[in-house]
Amino acid sequence: MPIPSRDIIVFTESENRWVIMNVFTRTSLGVNSEALKVLNLTSYHNINELQNLFGTDAFKVWEIEWFSNYKGLFADPTRYLRKYEDWPEPEVVDVMDLVLRLKKHYLIVDDEAQYRSCFASKTSLLDRKHFGNFHQQMGQELMVKHRESPEEWWVKQKFSGDKESIREGHYKAVQEYFLKSYFKSKFSEGNVIVDIGCGTGFYSNLMAETGAFVLGVDPHEEYIQSAKKKSIENARFETLQVGEIGAMDHIPTDSADYVFMSDALLFYFVPVLPKKENNIQTLLSDICRILKPEGCFINVEPHYIFWLLPWLGNSDRPFTILTEYIDKSFGVTPSISSLIQEYIKGGFAVTWMEELTPDPTFEATNQRAYHFAKQFPLWQLFELKPMSS
C-alpha cells in the first residue's frame, strides 16, 4: 500500500487547481480537487480497493515541475510553473495513472526506508537514484539533459548577451546594487585589492573604477581571458589555482589593503565534485598573509539559510519552508557556526556583517523575487580583519 509522504504540502493555485509539493525532494504535481481525495485515501486502501472505489472516474493532472534554477543560480528555485496561465493543458487520467504520477513526483511512496535512502550524494552525473545536492542536480541538468558546459552556462545566467552588464534579476537588483555603493564608500585611489575568484572580472573592474589597483585571480583560464579583454587600466588578471598550496606565493606578504571574494567560499565547504575537496584553511592563511596587518577581507556569499529555499505564498507576502540546516543533503552553503569557526581558525575576527536586500525599483520588475529577497536575504557579507591587528 503506498504511503502519502509526510513531506508534502498542498496549496491552491486557481479554481479547482491544487499544487502538491514534496518540500524535501522539491517535486510537484498540479491536480484537481477530486485527485486530492485519492491522495488522502492512499493511506487506507491498496490499489485494487482504490480502483473499486473510483472505477472509471477521471482526474485532471498538470505536469508543472521543472528545474527552475536552469534560468539562473538566483532564479526562483520553487521548481514548478508559477503562473497557472503557463500550465500545460491538463491530462485526464484514471486512478491507476494518478497513483503512478503521485509516486513519480514522490508525493506518495511505497517504501519509506527506500525513499529516505535516496537523500544521498549522487555517485556520478548519471546517477538518478539519489537526489544529490544542488550542485550535483545542477550538473546533471546542464551536462546530461542540456549537454551544456557549466562554465559557459554560469556566464550566461549572470551576464547579458554582450557580457558587459549583469542580467536583470537578483544578481543585478541585490548584489550589484549593493556592491556598487559599497565599493564607492569603501575603496579609494591607492588601495590595493585582490579579488579572489574574480570570474570574468566584472566586480574587479567596478572596484578599479574607484581608483584602487585590483588584481583579479581565478582558476578558470577562459574566465581570465575574458576578463583581460575587458580590463580597465588599473585592473590586472591572472589565472591562479586559488586554494592550492603555494598558488599565491608570488603575491607579497602584507601587500593588500583588501581581499574581496564573492560566491566562491561555499565551494570549500561542499565541493562541486566528490573527492575534490579544497582546503579552506590553505586559502584563508594565504588571504591572511597577503593582507596588510590593518587590511580587511570582504566575503560575500549566498545566504547560509535562505538561498535556494522555495518562494512560497503570495508574491507580495512570501513565506518559505526550511527542511534542513546543520546536515544538508540538498543545500550547499555552510551553517553560520561552521562558517564563522573557519574564519576564526584562519586567524580572522568578524568586524561587520550585512544581509543584502534588493533595490526598491526591483519590485516593479519582479514582485515575487523582490519581496522574497527583501524578507529573506539571498546574500550575506562579512568584513574580517586579521586578528593580530
Partner: protein, 78 residues
C-alpha cells in the same frame, strides 16, 4: 557487438593512459572514468555511431559496464 566493445575499450585505453579495462567491471564505481569523463564518453559514442541518447537512457545502470553500454548501442542501432 564485439566490435562495439572493442571500440569502447580502445576509447577508454586511449583517453585514460594506464587504465586496465575489464568489461565486467563497473567503470563508474571503480573510478575508471569520472563525471566529466563519462559525458565526453557519451558524446564520443553518439558521434561514432550517429545516434542520440534520450534523457531517460542516460542513467548509471546503462553506463556502468562496457557490456551494458554496448548492448544499449546495439539496441538503438537495430
Amino acid at each position: 557487438m564485439e566490435n562495439i566493445i572493442n571500440t569502447l575499450t580502445d576509447y577508454l585505453v586511449d583517453k585514460i593512459p594506464g587504465a586496465k579495462i575489464n568489461i565486467q567491471e563497473n567503470i563508474i564505481e571503480k573510478g575508471v572514468i569520472d563525471s566529466y569523463g563519462i559525458i565526453e564518453f557519451i558524446g564520443f559514442i553518439e558521434k561514432k555511431y550517429d545516434l542520440e541518447f534520450n534523457d531517460d537512457e542516460l542513467t548509471s545502470e546503462n553506463f556502468e559496464f562496457i557490456a551494458s553500454i554496448a548492448k544499449l548501442i546495439n539496441t538503438k542501432m537495430a
